[in-house]
């Protein structure tokens, strides 16, 4: 198998650099939190490494006993994507729990404020039992 052509190498490098810049811009603008950017920066670094190290993929594939080097890319990429998606599902679930708790607290506060306004003047000790009619 031949090494990667120089043109592809340049395209790869430019693409990876632009991607990295885009990620940085998102962080600067506050649209992406640093902790979630780590994985993307790592990906970009891997891309850059392989763009520079022309025989890298081939050598790693040989070492792992993979006959067709591109399939190693797919294997690694799909694996990484799945892991990251699961991670995001975990994050979303956690957020959902937080939202639920916050919603509850907010509802209690609203109720308390409404009650206080209603019996303003009277001391509000404990929850009101509505007056027996």
């Amino acid at each position: 198998m031949e090494t990667i052509p120089v043109v592809i190498q340049i395209i790869g490098l430019t693409g990876a650099t632009l991607f990295m810049l885009y990620i940085f811009r998102l962080i600067v603008r506050g649209q992406l939190r640093e902790e979630y950017s780590i994985v993307w920066i790592l990906c970009t670094i891997i891309l850059i490494v392989f763009s520079i190290w022309r025989r890298g993929l081939e050598q790693i594939s040989l070492a792992l006993g993979v006959f067709y080097p591109p399939s190693l890319i797919f294997l690694a990429a799909i694996f990484a994507i799945i892991i990251f998606l699961v991670h995001l599902s975990v994050v979303v679930s956690r957020l959902q729990n937080h939202i639920k708790t916050l919603t509850h607290e907010l509802a209690y506060l609203k109720q308390e404020v409404a009650m206080l306004k209603e019996n303003s003047g009277q001391a509000a000790d404990g929850p009101p039992i509505l007056t027996e009619s």
């Binding site: 919603t103 907010l106 509802a107 209690y108 609203k110 109720q111 009101p128 509505l130 009619s133």
Partner: protein, 245 residues
């Protein structure tokens, strides 16, 4: 009667047509049986005039700023009951399915100290609204699932007409399932060794609004509730085993 402070929780999502009558019903029952009782309506971010109806009604209300679904709304109510020191919490749906006249039936076993949780069941006497055939097939399936997991037979595991005592409230204060919580919660209660009793009640057809479960959601419901039930079993069995050891 009894000195127990009772909170009747009425979850409502777009129930402007029915909820006022439901609250009036409960207030009538409160006076008839002279119960020490508050009504807490939980408005689950309704998009219709439910909130305005609740503000005029003779009850407490919580207004959730985000739609949490029936489980999240009930959890809000149970937490409220626990924090504010109520002895008993009762769930009565805002759509008018659960007649307040039956309130005493599901409260009595708790007054007598015979149960921690009382579930109003449509199927013990087979009177009143019985739900469609398909739904009954689903309910039978959950009955079997519960039998296998906690060895207890609850005939109407999807019934939302329930009463909890303080001990049960302390459990649901910590955790209550989110979506379609009723069958899942039964497994939770079983594993916490709470005493559950079913009493026969007569239910009506809903008086307004639409069911959250239509045909297309039925399959999702079955899958979601089965998963929820199995996972809550797995989670709690390990946790409670550790606590006992």
């Amino acid at each position: 009667m009894t000195k127990d402070r009772i909170l009747v929780i009425v979850p409502c999502f777009n129930e402007e047509e029915a909820v006022a009558a439901v609250i009036e019903d409960i207030n009538r029952a409160k006076n008839r049986y002279s119960l020490h009782l508050d009504i807490l309506a939980v408005n689950d971010c309704s998009t219709d005039g439910t909130l305005a109806v609740l503000k005029r009604a003779n009850c407490l209300h919580l207004d959730l700023p985000v739609n949490l679904g029936i489980g999240g709304a009930m959890h809000a109510g149970y937490k409220f009951a626990f924090r504010n020191g109520y002895d008993i919490a009762v769930q009565i749906d805002g759509d008018g399915q659960h007649p307040a006249d039956e309130l005493m039936k599901i409260l009595q076993p708790i007054f007598d100290g015979e149960a921690d949780i009382v579930i109003g069941s449509r199927f013990l006497n087979r009177s009143g609204f019985q739900s469609s055939t398909m739904r009954r097939v689903g309910i039978n399936y959950f009955r079997r699932l519960n039998q296998i997991l906690i060895g207890q037979t609850i005939y109407d595991s999807t019934s939302g007409f329930r009463a909890f005592n303080r001990l049960a409230l302390s459990t649901v204060n910590v955790y209550y399932p989110d979506e379609y919580p009723e069958p899942e919660a039964i497994v939770q209660f079983g594993l916490h060794q709470l005493r559950m009793t079913e009493v026969p009640v007569t239910m009506r057809e809903r008086q307004g609004g639409v069911s959250s479960i239509n045909t297309s959601r039925a399959i999702y419901y079955m899958v979601k509730v089965t998963l929820g039930t199995l996972f809550i079993y797995a989670r709690l069995r390990n946790k409670l085993k550790h606590q006992m050891a």
